[in-house]
Subunit: 148 residues, 2 copies
DNA sequence: CTAGATGCAAACAGTTTGCGTCACT
DNA sequence: AGTGACGCAAACTGTTTGCATCTAG
């Protein structure tokens, strides 16, 4: 499923040091179904590496995310956010500052299924995040880029 | 923007008791832009209602969500979830048990913008959640429904 | 040899809970 | 009058940090 079969190579190509812990965490990650939380990863990695600490799992996952080896499922974990907008709409989400702005659902063509959903899933609605840089963060990134 | 202008009526139609705290929280909520967190709501409500407690704000927001007056922006707050799938895909999310399953992005026609995004927003990618009931939760809900 | 990774414990942030009191219906 | 809402403090869960030690490059 992954392009890199060799973890050592994967680390090198992303500028990361290769450690035993990282190897075991990564191997576990790609094998666990359903998008595990750090705690779940820790519980399983622990069985192979009894002395590992939860802090290391967190740090490693963040390192993987920053280097692009992994993604987080959603930019919205962290805190409950309230939506009082009852009209159909989607969210413009800044990947840097995490700000959320509404856009009307007419910004794009209605979503149309091409295939059936997996058997037994009872569809309710879509929630679409349009990820990118908000005007403020885009401007800052631009400046930083020019300065270099 | 809201259909109900009268909060007392809104409560009645959702089977909720009307209290001063709920009124102030609700008024604040619809006025605050950018999908505030409970803490942010608390900070502002406090200025009008100095004796209110954070716990009440949390309880009230949950009450509003359960009764359908509000929604949460995302079903994914709470804990970091890791995604090792580098292929374009979307997520089937169960609104009851919060389980997440991947579906290939070919389940529906590619998203096509109809209008431009707001000026200055630098688009990166979409993240689509397909919300509904997973097979297990759908089956349970069905049983419960028949039992009544 | 040295920068950076690990493990531990303590600190934090966000959220929930138990319980006595108070207020809507 | 009775059910449920409120306020407070304490408990909990998920996450981060500081620091001493160890290890990959």
């Amino acid at each position: 499923m992954q392009i890199h079969t060799d973890f050592r190579e994967l680390c090198r190509s992303h500028g990361l040091a290769m450690t035993h812990q990282r190897q075991v965490i990564y191997d576990m990650l790609v094998v666990m179904p359903g998008h595990p939380s750090p705690e779940e990863v820790f519980d399983r990695v622990r069985k192979k590496l009894p002395s590992i600490s939860l802090a290391t799992v967190y740090k490693t996952i963040h390192t993987f995310i920053e280097s692009g080896i992994l993604r987080e499922v959603s930019p919205h974990h962290g805190s409950l956010r309230v939506d009082d907008n009852i009209r159909p709409h989607h969210h413009l989400v800044c990947t840097t500052c995490k700000s959320i702005t509404d856009v009307d659902d007419s910004v794009f063509e209605p979503l149309r299924f091409k295939h059936r959903l997996p058997q037994g899933f009872k569809f309710e609605r879509f929630a679409v995040d349009i990820l990118g840089l908000c005007p403020q963060c885009a401007a800052k990134a631009d400046k930083r880029h020019k300065a270099q």
